[in-house]
């Protein structure tokens, strides 16, 4: 019996050590990516090509999701607010929910599922088919040529996608609240403009989405680069990207919200 307990404790210890070691390797990888970023910016067309893959190709899912999230918020918000005779505050509720929380967080979760998994699979396959080794053989640094452009493309795309998600969501809330249910249009917009602060709400939302962009892209790139060069390894890395990124987004969101809106909530 005691030996079982010892073994269990040892396993937990080994997992913790493994986790810390992986975190160290990932941090070193991120540092190298940042160090080679200048090379990528000199060849900006590489970043543009990656913005197309990560940003433009994620556009449809972001816009459609934003619209539906805003429409649901409009419907549920009206249902709750009209019980207190405050249905005119619907605009405030929809806008603050989207700009502060749902916009950056849901857009980042969708970005992790759509673009993050694609980045991991692409780099994992490049590793499995020895394209990265071939680059090294030709004296081309794979971090400067493959990783850094994808990193900056993700970091640039994420805040833009989150802004489009929020704007589309507000439009969805307007469609349901004003056009479908009949909330007064003037009150909807004026109360929203009175309550939403540019600095406190919108800029903080953009900062959040920027941080999520860094986290998701760094995780996706590291998982792809670190993936075992087999079909099973690449599929496992893709799954890990989505799981780790989603958890990182939610944890970071809590920390950032605690810092940004302390005393406000």
């Amino acid at each position: 019996m005691p030996s079982r307990i010892v073994k269990a404790v040892r396993r937990v210890g080994a997992r913790v050590v493994d986790g810390v070691w992986r975190f160290g390797v990932a941090s070193r990888f991120l540092f190298l990516t940042l160090a080679y970023s200048a090379t990528s910016f000199r060849r900006f067309h590489l970043i543009i090509k990656e913005i197309f893959s990560t940003g433009v190709l994620s556009l449809i899912i972001i816009l459609v999701s934003g619209l539906f999230v805003g429409m649901v918020l409009g419907m549920q918000g009206y249902d709750t607010l009209q019980r207190y005779g405050a249905s005119e505050s619907l605009g405030v509720m929809v806008a603050l929910s989207l700009v502060r929380e749902l916009g950056p967080v849901v857009a980042a979760l969708l970005f992790a599922s759509r673009a993050g998994s694609a980045i991991t699979a692409e780099i994992g396959l490049m590793k499995a088919t020895e394209q990265l080794s071939a680059m090294e053989m030709m004296a081309v640094n794979p971090i400067a040529r493959v990783v850094a452009p994808r990193f900056w493309a993700g970091v640039i795309s994420m805040p833009l996608l989150a802004a489009m998600f929020s704007a589309m969501g507000v439009f969805g809330g307007y469609l349901v609240g004003v056009k479908l249910i009949g909330v007064d249009e003037g009150s909807f917009w004026s109360q929203m403009q009175n309550a939403v602060d540019f600095q406190q709400d919108i800029v903080n939302g953009v900062i959040k989405s920027f941080v999520f962009g860094v986290a998701v892209t760094a995780i996706a790139l590291f998982e792809g680069y670190d993936a075992p060069p087999t079909a099973e390894g690449v599929s496992g890395a893709t799954t890990r990207t989505v799981v780790t990124s989603s958890l990182a987004i939610l944890a970071l969101d809590f920390v950032l919200t605690a810092f940004m809106f302390r005393g406000e909530v």
């Binding site: 543009i48 197309f52 005779g85 833009l160 802004a163 704007a167 403009q193 009175n194 919108i202």
Partner: protein, 156 residues
Amino acid sequence: MERTTIDLWVGLFVVMGLGALLVLALKVGNLGGVNISESYAVTADFSNIGGLKVRAPVKSAGVVVGRVAEIKYDAENHEARVTLKLDRKYPFSKDTSASIMTSGLLGEQYIALESGGDSVVLKEGDKIKITQSAVVLENLIGQFLYNKAADSGEKK
């Protein structure tokens, strides 16, 4: 896909993203509203500020004329000291009164200013002397019950 097509799509994507940010700033946020670039600060003491927050609007006749800049607790008078930043375009008389009001039933709290008849106007660092605190619902209910009990006692 050709490089020019990719460039076009990425350009469109960036323009759409920046456009969305602009919509959020001007249509959703208050950037297009009152821009208090030049302002003067005045203070007002309240015995209770309720749920008033920093950046809450300061209104006069329903028009936003400033924002709440700071809320502090005055340990000497045991009152809340609120600093208001008022737009320099709007002068207020020295005997202006400030009240804490609520917009709607569940709305945010704001400060309403009512100008008096004094010809001297408020300047940077002045203090608004006539103030009315936020209405505390518990106090109102307590007063109502007390009056009700007093009425029924008199009838007996």
